[in-house]
Each structure stands twice: as C-alpha cells, then as structure tokens.
C-alpha cells in the first residue's frame, strides 16, 4: 500500500518538478556553451548575462519551489477535495503521511543533487576537477590529523544524517502546523501559521533551556569535555533532539488525521 501511495505521489509531483529541473540543467548547459564561444560584441555580452541570470533564478527556484510545492501538495492532496479520495483508500493515515514525507524528502534531496550537477555542467573542466580533488583531499587530511580517521568518518556520516533529519523535522513541523490548523473551524491557514510560530517558539525555548541546564550541570558536576569530542557531542545532541521533535510532530499529525479529521 505504501509503495502504491509513493508511486502515485511521485507521478503527481514529478510531472511538475522534473521539467523544472530539466530547465535548470538546460540553462546550465546553455551557459556553458555560451562561455565557450568567443564573440566580443555588446549584444552577445548582454545575452550571456541574461542567460546567467536566468540560470541563477532557476537554481534558486528549483530548491525553493521544490520545498514549497511539496508542502502545498500535502495540503491539497489530503485536506481539500482530494482528501475525500485519499482518506477513503484502504490505507492507514500513517501510510498517507509516510508517503508524503518520503517523497518530499526525496525531491528536496534531489533538488540539491540536481543543482550540484548543473553547477558541475557549468563549471567543470579537467583542471577544475583536479583542483576540487586536491582541495577535498586537503580538507580531509587536516580533519583526520585533528580528529583521527575513524572519528572523521563518523562525523561525516553524522553530518549527512543531520541534514536529512533536519529536512524531515522542518517538513514535519509544517505538516503538524497544517494539521493543527485543520482543527480550527474558520481561518485554517491563519491557524496553521500561528501553530507554526508557536511550536517554533516552544522549540527554541526548550533548546535554550536544555543548553543552559546542560551548561550548569557540567559546571556543577565538574565534567570536563574534550574539545576534540565537542563536534560529536554537538552533532549527536542535535540528532537526538531533532529526532525527538520529529517523532512528536509525526505522532500529533497522525493522531489528528486518525481521530479528528473533518473535511469540508
């Protein structure tokens, strides 16, 4: 069932997003070609600048539109007329949420990857490949000398996880805000915004409180932390907090869809 939901979500969203990414890739190619042509004329320079500008916009658009579009998809497909179709399918509300979440994650990551690919199309020369290679080498070597090989790998993995969990958390925060807004009788959109800001504020407060308490506790208990370990503690801590809040947002959204659904 989940697989079918994902397939359907991919079809419904891909038909808009893939052309968007396609345009961006084409623009990067166009710019690459243009930069290789040597015509020194005024009008040509203008065309080059315009194309570069268009490309820049397409990059920004790809990332932002992907994120916003997936949010709107969640709302439109589940809480407007289409919700009558989705919530009468033989699927649990949790499966509906999972599908939206996974496909959102996929496209958000995909948009970043496609942007990187377009940049590569635009800038990559064999000389630059070498440059990137050596720069990355330098970075990793110095990291490894500071933190040790194992720890560096661990930190890299944790960082990637952190990016993914952050995307998930941000998405779920918006989902739960939309779900809470749905509970209100009029002005659902306004209620969603209020919920979003309220939850964010609570989140910040809780985080600050934890940090303060943590700082106080380590002071009082005279716990010494190695500077070397700090990045890991920080990342691990962020991962745990993100996971907890993501789970909380998920559970609330699921509860609302299960028990408090009321489509217009």
């Amino acid at each position: 069932m989940l697989r079918k939901l994902i397939k359907h979500d991919l079809i419904a969203t891909g038909r808009y997003l893939l052309p968007l990414y396609g345009i961006m890739l084409v623009l990067s190619l166009v710019n690459r070609i243009l930069s290789a042509i040597d015509i020194y004329a005024g009008y040509f320079e203008i065309i080059k600048i315009l194309m570069m500008f268009a490309y820049g916009i397409s990059v920004v658009a790809s990332i932002i539109v992907t994120f916003v579009f997936m949010i709107l998809r969640f709302y439109k497909n589940l809480l407007t007329d289409e919700g009558y179709l989705m919530f009468t399918l033989p699927a649990k509300p949790s499966q509906l949420i999972n599908s939206k979440l996974l496909v959102s994650l996929l496209w958000n990551i995909m948009s970043i990857i496609v942007v990187i690919c377009s940049l590569l199309i635009l800038f990559l020369t064999s000389k630059r490949i070498d440059l990137i290679h050596s720069t990355l080498d330098n970075i990793f070597t110095s990291l490894k000398s500071e933190f040790g090989t194992n720890r560096t790998t661990l930190i890299m993995i944790e960082l990637i996880l952190l990016v993914i969990i952050s995307i998930i958390q941000q998405t779920l925060l918006i989902y739960v805000s939309i779900a809470i807004g749905h509970l209100v009788n009029g002005h659902k959109v306004l209620a969603s915004f209020v919920a979003y800001f309220a939850i964010n504020t609570i989140l910040q407060t809780v985080m600050t409180a934890i940090l303060l308490i943590g700082g106080y506790v380590t002071d009082v208990a005279d716990i010494n932390i190695n500077i070397i370990d700090l990045p890991q503690y920080a990342i691990a801590f962020s991962l745990i907090v993100s996971s907890i809040f993501s789970t909380l947002y998920y559970l609330i959204t699921n509860y609302i869809f299960n028990k408090k659904l009321n489509l217009e």
Partner: protein, 232 residues
C-alpha cells in the same frame, strides 16, 4: 452476513452542534436505499461516518461487522458530492489509480461504460464538463465490486438525460449481495429505483421503511410523504 450496515445509538457532535443523534439502523444486503432529508439534516455526516471520514462521538457503526477502518474501506465504494479526482489526471490514469488501490475494481467494465459514453480515455479531467466529470466518477465508483456503495447526491445539478444515464448505471450494476445507499433531496426522480427509504430529520432517524409498505399503507408517493414530513 446479511447485514451490511449496523448503527447503534450512533451520535456525532461538532462542538455544540449535534449533527446526528442516537441513530439505530440496520441495513441488509441487496437493497437500493434512499437516504432522504433536507440539506443539513445529517445525511452527509452519516455517510462520512460510514466511510471513516469522521469518528463517532458515541455509539457504534459497523460495516459488515467491521468498525470503519482499512478493512471496511476495501468493501465500501464512495461517491462524494464533489469532484475528488485530481484535475491533471487523464481518465485512463484515474482508472489505473482505482485499479491500483482497490482489489475489487473491474477495469474492463469501467472501459466498457466509458465507451458507451463515447468518452476518450486519454482526455484530461480538467478538459471535461462538470456533468461528464461526475459521470466518470460514477463509473469509477460503480466499477468496484463493493459490498456497500454510498452515493452522495449523484443526480444533483445534472441534466435529465444525464440523470437517466446515472439511474440506469445504478440499476444495471445492482447485484443482490451489495447495497447501494443514495443520499439525495431529489426524491421524485429516484423513488422508483428504491427498495427502502430512510428519512433523517434534524439529525434524527425519522423513518426507515420499505417503499412498497409506504405506498400500500399511505397510498402516497415517497415524494408526497417527504413533503409532509419535512414541511417548513
């Protein structure tokens, strides 16, 4: 089991408003049943409860012995009052969608009905008129081999020829293992195809009777009785 829907003291409140109050109802298989009442009487609330789109405030509701959930949705086919298919889909994609998600969907029959409408499956739903879109949705819903069909205002706002088509589709898809609930306020048009009627008045069950019993006992049409019962 021969009982396809059972409501026991079913009540639904929205904050202070009671949409349905203490409904006790038993529906058997193999019947076409009219759920009749004015707008806002609670008909749509009952249908949403059957489909799991709302949860009861108190009391119980069971479809073929099951509480509303994933399993009951497999045997209930729902036609809401609104367009619930995404506009961007082609008719063929909508058929594929139903076929993917519902094991009881009969693709061949759906295409058959489409052909009789002379409708090209490659057309996008966006490009269809409102009446045609409604017919497509009806075809999709009736192409499922469900135990319970819930049709919410299937003939409202539709021209007489389309109305005939819709009623004809309902009759030809009837089978004695399934029950069709038709919720409407246009009684004169459909009363000939009904086995039983349910009157819902202000959230209460006012009447549940076979149509023949009403005609024999009261000597009136359902439409006339309705006008009496719901006189403003």
């Amino acid at each position: 089991m021969s009982v396809v829907l059972e409501c026991r003291s079913l009540t639904k409140k929205f904050n202070t408003i009671t949409a349905l109050s203490d409904i006790n109802l038993t529906l058997e298989r193999g019947k076409i049943i009219g759920l009749l009442g004015p707008n806002g009487s609670g008909k749509t609330t009952l249908i949403k409860l059957i489909n799991g789109l709302l949860k009861p405030t108190s009391g119980s509701i069971e479809i073929a012995g099951m509480a509303p959930g994933v399993e009951s949705k497999k045997i209930v086919s729902y036609l809401p009052e609104r367009t619930y298919l995404p506009d961007w889909m082609k008719v063929s994609q909508a058929i594929q969608f139903f076929s993917d998600f519902y094991g009881d969907f009969d693709t061949e029959r759906a295409y058959d009905m489409l052909k009789r409408l002379n409708l090209d499956p490659n057309r996008r739903l966006k490009s269809l008129s409102k009446g045609t879109k409604e017919k497509v949705q009806l075809i999709l819903v009736m192409s499922r081999r469900a135990d319970l069909y819930c049709l919410d205002e299937p003939i409202g706002g539709v021209d007489p020829a389309a109305r005939d088509y819709i009623l004809n589709t309902i009759i030809t898809n009837y089978n004695d293992n399934s029950t069709i609930i038709i919720s409407t306020h246009l009684i004169a048009d459909i009363e000939k195809i009904l086995d039983e009627v349910i009157f819902i008045k202000e959230g209460n069950l006012n009447l549940h009777s076979s149509v023949d019993a009403i005609r024999e006992k009261e000597g009136k049409s359902i439409d006339s009785l309705f006008r009496e019962v719901f006189k403003c």
